[in-house]
Symmetry: C2
Subunit: 226 residues, 2 copies
DNA sequence: CGGAGGATTGAAAGCAATCAAGCTCAGTGG
DNA sequence: CCACTGAGCTTGATTGCTTTCAATCCTCCG
């Protein structure tokens, strides 16, 4: 995370490859690796591409004037990030972990003449993002910090949970501060909630980033406030 | 607000009128009046229309399992509401005040064959909504209740503020509970913040729903936490 | 005039933020 | 091989803000 912010994705051409579709390229596609902490774009950058997360995790953030940070969303594999507003990015985006992305050249407001199905993909991504942001609101609207954290863990469980015998395993790619900035809490409070779940035998921690969900139904109940 | 929820917008055909576009209707448009508290749609209703707010204000809400309510957004004149997710409405929508809406039959994922520009309008509305939801997050991420309320008032000021001599006037269409559910606070806390601004001569109240902004720059400073 | 719903104000309790101190672990260098 | 270091995580004590509960006010309207 000590790498200086760079705006080099479009300039480092040698790392990009053009993938033609049939005889002529209908949609320009460029693949790229991001190392941890590296930026994909910054707020108010012109948005000429949308980005598909292939592997890894990215973080979409907006900064308050006082320097604090709001994590708007995490981008997991399969997610499309970087939809523009007025032709510009409305958040910044950087890699939580080593991440592979594919950039699609795209202006959503220009009508599809080349690849009509791609346009539908963009529209579906936009509608999905609206739905995800709404879910995020419900998370923030919960009463107790522990309810918010439980709801967040349930989200991760559904999204990136892996089977582990009778239980399920979550590898938390982000740190406690990221979770705090996502939920509007402090890292200390995140830690306390996780400790509480551990004491209640709802989860177990292998290490700070490897969580075993022992009782998913009780975790979901916590998220609902019961 | 004692009117029972009704699902009658599509069944009360006599209140609707079809507006043809030239010789044949390219996009079906239906106009409708909603009285205060009346629902336009409910969560998980099939979404066959998107709705344009012509006058009045609507409230987009989602309900928690424990009965509490999260106000996701307010829809002001010019806003397009009701964008579907997986073909269904992801929120419920009801009228804060007497409201006139125009319903546009629309499936955003079906490609435009009749009116291509309308499709772009839908896409722009979706991207706008994403941006608005992100702004809403920044509001919720603020530290103090008074900062959130100030940020909300600034939003209203920009959106529906009217000139009033040297000052500006905001008619608050929604009540304190609506604001509270929008900001994740209680009605009492909203009231206390407003009282505080009044004591600081930042605003003046003509009545509970009519606010005169005496010092907009100080209101904006409050929203930034200074 | 009386009633009802919303808004305001007050007092007390509850919960997260803050400040501060250990802890763990990975990386580093002697 | 092991002490050192630093970053992130955890835990503890205190503070402060919001919530909660309750009472009163106000305004609209029957």
């Amino acid at each position: 995370m000590l790498t200086a912010p760079t705006r080099d994705i479009h300039s480092v051409q040698q790392t990009l490859r053009v993938i033609p579709n049939g005889s002529r390229p209908v949609v320009e596609r460029l693949s790229r690796q991001l190392s941890e902490g590296q930026h994909l774009y910054f707020e108010s950058d012109p948005a000429r591409f949308v980005y598909e997360v292939v592997s890894g995790v990215v973080r979409l953030t907006r900064l308050h004037k006082d320097g604090r940070r709001q994590v708007i969303a995490f981008g997991f594999p399969g997610d499309l990030v970087g939809l523009p507003n007025d032709g510009r990015h409305s958040t910044e985006c950087d890699a939580v972990t080593q991440t592979e992305i594919v950039a699609h050249r795209c202006d959503p407001l220009v009508l599809p003449d080349g690849d009509p199905s791609f346009h539908s993909v963009i529209m579906a991504a936009a509608l999905d993002e609206i739905s995800m942001l709404q879910d995020h609101f419900l998370m923030l609207g919960r009463r107790l910090a522990s309810e918010k954290v439980a709801a967040f863990l349930c989200l991760l469980l559904d999204r990136i949970g892996e089977p582990l015998g009778a239980y399920r395993l979550i590898h938390l790619p982000m740190n406690r501060s990221d979770i705090a900035d996502y939920l509007g809490l402090t890292p200390e409070t995140i830690s306390r909630s996780i400790t509480q779940f551990r004491e209640q035998k709802i989860i177990a921690l292998e290490d700070a980033h490897t969580m075993i969900v022992l009782d998913a139904s009780r975790l979901r109940a916590m998220a609902e406030g019961s």
